[in-house]
Symmetry: C2
Subunit: 415 residues, 2 copies
């Protein structure tokens, strides 16, 4: 536990979320207050900004804009997907990071991201420790996929869940207006973990849940799917709303969406990268003659900040602050995580988890929460997820459109 | 002008909108207050409910739920797509409607819909007048497409426009997070009129507008599109957001989305009904090697009531009330429409337009508002549309999810 004096470096990595910048706001606002921190830097495009010596001087930003970051979706500093090699194989990047940190006296490093980003953060943390350079390194979790190990839930998941639940309710009303058959297949993100797809179940709290839900945690059988839809239609006035994960696979382990891209060509002769929703909707149309519609919630589910959950925004903001406080108190090589308190009233406390435990471990939906022959989600999930989507927290409106943060993004002069 | 005493029949038709039920609420609440109206009926699934004698007794509904209709998307009574034959060719349906109206003493008939629905309404109006049966018939406009003739704008358009503008802003932030090339193609509804696609331009008011916009009002050239995207990428860090209408056609008059469905087959051997966004995104990927994403705003743009415009909700509610007031005052054979008042401050007044003028005439985006070699929209459009998307009006929240109206839907006993 070392109490250090020096600059703070923060970077965002991986796919953005509606609330990822709330963590940035937390880190920046807490960092600018701390007497141990001599400068606050935000790396442009994740670790690449460190390697390229491209980072912004956060001290030059308006406080008002930093606060608006809480309600501004998508990585404000820019993101990156960049996997560091093992230092034992090639330590070029690590040496460069150390060089940059020394040059700017960076003593606090915060990396904000999901599984892969925590792997990066862990590797950097270990390398710096081995090199003898004093720098406290803390991972700040982020992923709509909700699949990070060791935390009750992940910053960003709840806002995406609230978007999905609200949207499924609305689609449910829309898709059933005619007295003719209609099957609607909705696709949610999550290639390996079905948390977001499961979140569609929350729409049932408002009485407008899906009829069928398919998670990637269990094998997907195309023929069974057709039978499931037919069974729902038979008892439901020939209407069915099914929600599927983009990551559903057949028992041979092939993604349903990969099956598509192998076969399909559009009129220009190009491979047709259809989503799984469109594929399954077409399949049902073929098998039943019913009108069908495939809907991909696409980027909207992860950037729909106008439907962010207040619980998520506030927890995520505080996660950023907690990370800085912990580092200033001498903690290092940890990831901030949420522990749900016991008791009926929902509350969390912040804990620290060794980074190596957080890196590269995926937490999937418990199989016992997947019910009704793998077509539904249990009430246990609702009990888990409903407290997370509570409250509204969104950008103020200008002209009835969101007023998102506008950062100056003044680059720190290269030394 | 006849002042009649009898029952009111209201029906919803065509594709739903976020605010279509606000008109229903207006008609119902005003109808239940009127001493000239002896009963208020809501037809199940449009004119089909009249033909089948399936209609709900609105007097049996809770007032609170009727009020919640203002914020509940999608046709609460059910909708229909049913084109009446010309009475001169086959008057079976008309005779049946007259029979039902006589049986239940229906003296006020309101049909809520777009172009096709106003055609239906017009035909019924003319038939009833010819038959000598006294019934005041008023059309209540509704269409996200905004393409009805004779009205400044259409109920439902502004809420869809606000959804599109907000969502394009959010996607714009999300799609540009990496420092690698990214082209995103977003598809809006509107097969013949580009109003909704043009609405994406409103995102520029928040500083996050699209780079390219393509309306169905002008021919779409695939090769030019590729060049347009490349030009934007060249000056824009290899990033481009393009918004296209589902209805864009090449100069031979073929829908781009039809080009797709002719060619593509998925792995099940079925025709792949890809959207135009996915097709164009794949095309750009092929031509540039860039990462691309096609996003279809699908049903969400017309059912996303959580982003409804207050101006739209209130105007639409009042349009329903205005229809009833006019009919009770003896007006018939008209459609309610909006006239924008002169002056800097936005305001409208309600007018009545002869139904035959409203039926089957499409109003498209003025060609002079389409600029920059058919890739952008002028400020004139913003001046026109921005006042319409102002204010928030949405359902109250329960568990932080929308609490939509729950109607009892008590069928009127068949006589």
């Amino acid at each position: 536990m070392k109490n250090l004096k020096g600059a703070l470096m923060f970077a965002q990595s991986g796919g953005p979320t509606s609330v990822i910048n709330a963590s940035a706001a937390g880190v920046f606002i807490e960092g600018l207050k701390s007497s141990a921190i001599t400068a606050v830097y935000g790396a442009a495009n994740g670790i690449k900004g460190v390697l390229d010596e491209n980072f912004y001087d956060i001290g030059k930003e308006d406080k008002k804009e930093l606060n608006l970051l809480k309600y501004t979706p998508s990585s404000a500093l820019g993101s990156v997907r960049y996997k560091l090699k093992d230092a034992s194989v090639d330590d070029t990047d690590y040496k460069r990071i150390l060089e940059v940190f020394k040059k700017y006296n960076v003593r606090y490093f915060f990396y904000n991201g999901g599984n892969d980003s925590m792997d990066t953060c862990n590797k950097i943390s270990k390398y710096l420790a081995t090199s003898g350079y004093d720098c406290n390194v803390i991972g700040v979790p982020k992923t709509i996929d909700n699949d990070l190990y060791g935390t009750d839930h992940c910053p960003g998941f709840a806002s995406a869940a609230r978007y999905i639940a609200t949207t499924v309710m609305e689609i449910n009303l829309d898709a059933k207006v005619y007295d003719t058959p209609m099957v609607c297949v909705i696709e949610c993100m999550g290639r390996h973990a079905g948390w977001l797809t499961a979140a569609s179940k929350l729409a049932s709290v408002g009485g407008l849940g899906p009829d069928l839900i398919y998670l990637p945690e269990v094998d997907f059988d195309v023929d069974k799917f057709v039978e499931d839809v037919k069974a729902v239609c038979a008892k439901n006035g020939n209407k069915c709303i099914a929600v599927v994960s983009e990551g559903i696979k057949n028992k041979e382990g092939t993604f349903i969406c990969e099956l598509v891209s192998q076969g399909a060509r559009d009129s220009f002769g190009h491979a047709q990268l259809g989503g799984v929703a469109a594929t399954l909707a077409n399949l049902i149309k073929e098998k039943t003659g019913y009108k069908t519609r495939g809907i991909e919630l696409s980027l909207m589910q992860r950037c729909g900040a106008h439907l962010a959950s207040k619980v998520d925004v506030e927890e995520t903001f505080k996660a950023g602050r907690a990370a800085v406080k912990a580092a200033v108190n001498g903690e290092t090589d940890k990831m901030v995580c949420y522990k749900r308190k016991d008791g009926d009233k929902y509350a969390i406390e912040y804990e620290l988890l060794p980074l190596e435990l957080a890196a590269n471990t995926e937490k999937t939906v418990p199989l016992e929460w997947i019910t009704e022959n793998n077509t539904n989600i249990s009430d246990e999930f609702i009990k888990y997820a409903l407290p997370l989507i509570q409250g509204e927290a969104k950008a103020p409106l200008e002209n009835s459109l969101p007023r998102f943060a506008k950062l100056k993004k003044v680059f720190v002069e290269k030394k």
